[in-house]
């Protein structure tokens, strides 16, 4: 399917020339990379398709379309409507909050810029289950801190804020994606040549017009990419609907499917796999649209050869209200972590009260730290995170560059195959990889950290792709051509020109993958053995068997470590790329 119809060339020399030019244009590189990606992605993909068609027990399997039918006909329109409203609402909220705050931080002189960055990292490190508990502590209808405070003004027995509602689900899920949007768009905005915005300002456009007519259109590929990510992930997310929706008797397609997985003594993957296959069909359409939009890469190139002095827009009278807006984001991102910080000092969780200051202690930290598996788990997680992030970034950086620069049909296939794992449900991917390497003892990575690195490579490839793609799209082709003219080879151009210019995006991708491998629970729990225990296993153990305050102490330690690491990396990457924010 990758073969090209080649126009007839006169003679053997002509064909050789053509082959040479194809080599030069990277066609071969695209095909080689595509082959590598296929080897990685195809086995779990085939497993997924097979699981979606499998009916009955594992011992006596039958095949048919029943899983698809039961997903599509799941009890009326109510589930579908809730699912769509929830996914669209959450992605829209994330885009609004994330893009606006990234723009404020990167392009304007709004105060408190660093605070937003710290909050983004703080929030990324903490697993969703812990954050949801945090939100229940803050907004629970009975004893949620914010509701208790609000009730002292407005009265009533419950609420007034209803967390267990559609709005609550959108709010919590939207905030999960806000830091991703923020971090994905920040490097692109930070590297943007301000000449365009300045020109708008010179032509008499005000702040709002500049943002809406110049900045936003330039950002279209990045925004679209991240909107796609957020939409697809919220379409298939089940944590927030389960934890925040179910208590309010609200159900999405995914929670219904989640329940179908857990109807017996071992998980059943049929419906979950069928849903993933259906999602894959859905993903193809928006991805094709994304391609049409970004087909003319040059339109979005904002990093040019001109030397520019990044200048921040003066907000003037808008400075104070926009600072307030910017603070909403760190506050809402950090709030569940902060309530966990409070909880981590308590023997058993109680809503904050002055009277409890006496009972605060570091006991939970000692307990968590005293566990032999915490330290080993953190070390393994860091190692696995490092390798997963490095491999994902190496693969997707080259792939993204090829996709942006070369025109062959293979590029679309390459991007699509790299994006396929986006729809793999974590638990299905986990069992697939487990089975795959159990049956391939000649690749002896079962039970080692490498099986987790491999699993995370598959899981996070799509994200690395979107980060790198957005970053490379911003680089003007002339800069690379200039390098080639001066005699540099492809490797040198990539290393000395593309990588440094795209470094903020690449670093953000690396961090994103690193952070998510640490907090990912679904893969780790299946693939961890005695020699590759990760911190996620400790989290689940505490979740099942420990007090919430102990879990809180571990979450706080992780959040603090990750924030320091994130800030250090961002700082380094900006220094290295010479782009100041």
């Amino acid at each position: 399917m990758m073969t090209h119809t080649v126009a007839a060339e006169p003679g053997a020399w002509g064909r050789l020339d053509h082959l040479r030019s194809r080599l030069r244009t990277g066609e071969t590189a695209v095909l080689v990379l595509l082959a590598v990606v296929l080897v990685i992605v195809l086995p779990p993909f085939l497993f997924l398709v097979r699981a979606s068609l499998t009916l009955g027990s594992a011992a006596a399997p039958q095949y048919g379309l029943d899983n698809f039918v039961s997903v599509l006909t799941r009890s009326g329109s109510e589930l579908w409507v809730t699912t769509l409203l929830y996914s669209l609402g959450a992605s829209a909220l994330a885009i609004t909050l994330g893009v606006s705050s990234a723009w404020l931080v990167a392009r304007t002189d709004v105060p408190l810029r660093q605070t937003a960055l710290v909050a983004a990292f703080l929030s990324l490190a903490v697993p969703v289950i812990i954050k949801s508990i945090g939100w229940i502590m803050l907004l629970g209808p009975n004893s949620g801190l914010i509701n208790v405070v609000l009730r002292s003004f407005v009265g009533g027995d419950e609420g007034p804020i209803q967390l267990y509602s559609l709005g609550g689900m959108i709010f919590v899920e939207g905030l999960l994606w806000t830091p991703v949007v923020f971090l994905l768009t920040l490097p692109v905005l930070g590297a943007m040549d301000p000449a365009l915005e300045e020109a708008a300002a010179t032509s008499g456009a005000d702040l709002r017009q500049t943002f809406a007519r110049v900045t936003l259109p330039l950002m279209r590929p990045s925004i679209l990419a991240v909107f796609l990510l957020a939409l697809i992930r919220s379409l298939e997310s089940f944590e927030v609907p389960l934890l925040i929706g179910a208590p309010g008797n609200l159900h999405t397609l995914t929670t219904a499917i989640y329940q179908s997985i857990h109807t017996g003594f071992v998980p059943k993957y049929g419906e979950a796999s069928a849903f993933a296959v259906l999602l894959l069909l859905l993903v193809a359409a928006p991805l094709a649209y994304y391609y049409r939009v970004t087909a003319h890469a040059d339109r979005y190139a904002t990093i040019s050869g001109k030397g520019f002095r990044p200048r921040r827009l003066k907000l003037g009278a808008w400075r104070a209200p926009l600072a307030l807006w910017l603070m909403i984001i760190p506050l809402s991102l950090a709030a569940p972590v902060l309530i966990m910080l409070w909880a981590s000092f308590l023997p058993v969780y109680k809503p904050p009260a002055l009277a409890d200051f006496a009972s605060l202690s570091l006991a939970n930290y000692w307990t968590v730290w005293g566990r032999a598996d915490t330290v080993a788990g953190l070390a393994n997680s860091a190692l696995i995170g490092f390798w997963s992030a490095t491999l994902v970034v190496a693969l997707t950086f080259i792939a993204a560059w090829l996709i942006v620069r070369y025109r062959g049909a293979g590029r679309w296939a390459l991007d699509f195959m790299i994006s396929v794992p986006l729809v793999f449900p974590g638990i299905v991917l986990g069992i697939t990889i487990l089975i795959q390497f159990l049956r391939l003892p000649m690749i002896p990575i079962y039970g080692t950290i490498w099986i987790l690195v491999f699993a995370f490579l598959i899981r996070f490839m799509p994200y690395g792709m979107r980060f790198c793609h957005a970053g490379i799209l911003a680089i003007q082709r002339e800069l690379e051509e200039c390098g080639r003219t001066c005699g540099a080879g492809v490797g040198t151009v990539l290393r000395r020109i593309v990588l440094p210019l795209a470094l903020p995006s690449v670093a953000a991708a690396w961090l994103y993958v690193f952070l998510h491998t640490i907090r990912d629970l679904s893969l780790a729990v299946l693939l961890a053995g005695p020699h590759n225990q990760v911190v996620a296993v400790v989290i689940l153990d505490l979740w099942n068997n420990g007090e919430v305050p102990e879990l809180a102490a571990l979450a706080v330690v992780m959040a603090a470590g990750v924030t320091l690491l994130g800030l250090a990396l961002m700082w380094l990457s900006r220094r290295a790329s010479g782009i100041a924010t």
Binding site: S143, G264, P267, Y349, L438, A528, H531, N545, E547
Partner: protein, 356 residues
């Protein structure tokens, strides 16, 4: 799709047997020593303890699949007793462990020695013939209900799902003390339950067995809020005051948290479902002697006392008086449990999960 089963290096049963046999011959040339996992698991010669220790000394290691680290004090003590054994743990939820070990055995990857796992997680491995029935002198001390019919596992720790409440929000005399009392209109919209794993389903099953399916539907009218949190996390929400009353709270969690000052109380409203964790050994355990020593230790009075200190109850006859409820239902031991469970899942999902 058929996949060729490749044997894992060093995993051959024959090699293992030969090694054990050879080792056995060297260690004690007098009596015929048990060599297969089956023989070791059921050995009842007078020199049982000596044989197991000698074998375990040669094996030097033990791999246990379990749900949590709460058994750490037991492992520490076990390691003290048998310092030549290196213990390794794999932890995950019981259904994940079940799935994992089934796939491992299908692929010929046979490394696990023993399990300390919720009984419902042992059902599938048993049916897939991964568990080796065993015999231990400690079994005599156990109530028959705690021993799986064919001795595939024995319950080493148990806790019970009953009615938990926040003592600050509900005074002691108002607390519902029977399942019927939960139907009182005053509890409408005020209860919550844990929807994770088997907690909810086994609780519904108990109600069906005690009061019938119609009672479950009536209780559904009370509009019980379903939290997809573990029983432990729900107990935490209860001590925080977010949840006042819940019929799916574990006594062990209430005991542990109230010791730390949490305002929690617990009542057994009649027959309660037992959340039972069993010990079992794997049919192709590479370290069967060590596994049997582990089984003996967990079942011993010493082991059971350690469990009790962790908040769990015991099924040993000589450990009575631990405040355990009078009527306990060991659901996983019911002959038709797998099918009943599926019915209960449907009932639970229809009545509580998607309330009308």
């Amino acid at each position: 799709m058929t996949v060729a089963r490749t044997r894992w290096p060093g995993m051959s049963r024959r090699t293992l047997r030969a090694a054990l046999l050879l080792a056995g011959l060297c260690a004690s040339p007098v009596a015929a020593q048990p060599s297969s996992v089956e023989a070791i698991a059921n050995y009842d010669g007078a020199d049982r303890q000596k044989t197991l220790e000698a074998g375990a000394r040669r094996e030097g290691a033990l791999l246990v699949y379990t749900t949590g680290t709460q058994i750490k004090p037991l492992l520490d003590r076990f390691e003290q007793k048998y310092p030549y054994l290196r213990i390794e743990l794999v932890r995950a939820g019981s259904s994940d462990v079940a799935r994992k070990v089934v796939e491992e055995y299908r692929a010929g990857y046979e490394k696990v020695d023993a399990f300390e796992l919720a009984a419902h997680g042992l059902v599938v491995p048993r049916d897939e013939e991964i568990l080796q029935p065993f015999q231990s002198p400690e079994l005599a001390a156990y109530v028959p209900d705690a021993i799986e019919a064919k001795r595939h596992w024995v319950v080493v720790r148990e806790s019970y799902t009953g009615i938990g409440h926040n003592t600050k929000l509900i005074p002691a005399d108002k607390v519902p003390k029977t399942y019927e009392a939960l139907l009182d209109p005053q509890w409408k919209n005020r209860m919550a339950m844990s929807g994770t794993s088997t907690t909810a389903v086994n609780w519904v099953g108990t109600l069906v067995l005690v009061h019938g399916a119609d009672f479950v539907r009536k209780l559904g009218q009370q509009n019980i809020r379903v939290y997809n949190l573990t029983g432990r996390a729900l107990a935490n929400l209860m001590s925080a005051g977010e949840v006042a009353l819940s019929p799916t709270i574990y006594n062990s969690h209430v005991a542990a948290s109230s010791e730390k000052g949490a305002p929690l109380g617990w009542v057994a409203p009649g027959p309660v479902p037992v959340t039972d964790t069993g010990v079992a050994i794997a049919r192709k355990a590479p370290h069967p002697h060590a596994a049997m020593l582990f089984v003996d230790f967990l079942l011993s009075k010493e082991g059971q006392v350690l469990y009790r200190e962790l908040g769990y109850d015991s099924a040993r006859r000589d450990m009575a008086g631990s405040g355990a409820p009078a009527q306990k239902l060991y659901l996983a031991n019911r002959p038709n449990y797998i099918h009943e469970y599926e019915d209960w899942v449907k009932l639970y999902q229809g009545v509580f999960l998607r309330r009308r």
